[in-house]
Amino acid sequence: MIRTLFVLLVLLVLAAAATSVIPHLKMRTELDGAGLEYARRGLEDTGSINLVTAVIVAYRGLDTLGEVVVLFSAATSVMLILSLFPLGRGPTDPSFIVAHTARVLPAPIMLLAVYFTTHSHLSPGGGFPGGTIMASAFLLVMLGSSSTPAGSKILPALEALSGTTFGLLGLWGTMTLGQFLNNRVIGIGNPGYLVSAGIIPLVSLAIGVKVASEFSGIFAAFRKSGGNR
């Protein structure tokens, strides 16, 4: 009873706060602040056609490094807990058709993921969506069997390699131009082509591999903690 009243009170306070904001809201019609600067100078500064990727990788690259660290710690906690306390009793085998689909389809999905990751400066996509699609390909392999795939042993190595690559690409900017993650270290090239926009495609690839290996590690830990039947 007291709990229900308390919940009602909290929701009422929140609704009142939200209602008091409504008269001050008005529709935005012009860019302002940081968004205006990014839209005006983004293409000249970074050479990336996709302004969202320019913001993620070039302007706010240090923040992205922090986000990757948060993701890393969450994934590591999941893997640690699941390896310390085994749960579950082992999965059943899939049917013939599902097992064979899981052998055929991961290759096109992986191709799609690599396309989205490496073309992040030309079309929608980028490290985070590409990485989750790569993890989905790994997941399809795992749904089509009742054991952990053999390739999951190299996941920690991939994760360390991609994280180190991200850091070293940033330090390269520090050493040559005096700025962390400056993407002009190899020139921005001709915008609109695949080889352009400095180190943005490389950093996107590093982010994608890191996200993919972390999510794949979570799935492999879930599967291993049940024990193979």
Binding site: N50, V52, T53, L87, G88, F116, P124, G125, G126, F128, P129, T132, I133, A135, S136, L139, F215, I218, F219, F222, S225, G226
Partner: protein, 83 residues
């Protein structure tokens, strides 16, 4: 985007999302609640595309359709019968 078409789609999808989110809290079966949450994420992806956020739409489609649903399903399977 044509304003009237975008408005009609937004009212349609938004109404569906709100109705589904209330149903998630009150449906008896936990598996059904997980499935309906996946549908909310997918509708949110269409709304992101209507708001011209293409990258966010791709991310939400891949996360909401597969990864979040799968993690909750796996957790429910690990829990066994304790509900």
């Amino acid at each position: 985007m044509n304003p009237s078409l975008a408005s009609a789609l937004a009212v349609f999808l938004g109404g569906m999302m709100l109705a589904a989110s209330v149903v998630v809290l009150f449906v008896r079966d936990l598996l059904s609640a997980i499935i309906i949450t996946g549908m909310i994420s997918l509708s949110a992806s269409v709304l992101f595309l209507l708001m011209d956020a293409t990258d966010v739409a791709i991310t939400e489609a891949s996360i909401g359709a597969v990864l979040a649903t799968l993690i909750f399903l796996w957790g429910k399977g690990k829990m066994g019968g304790r509900e």
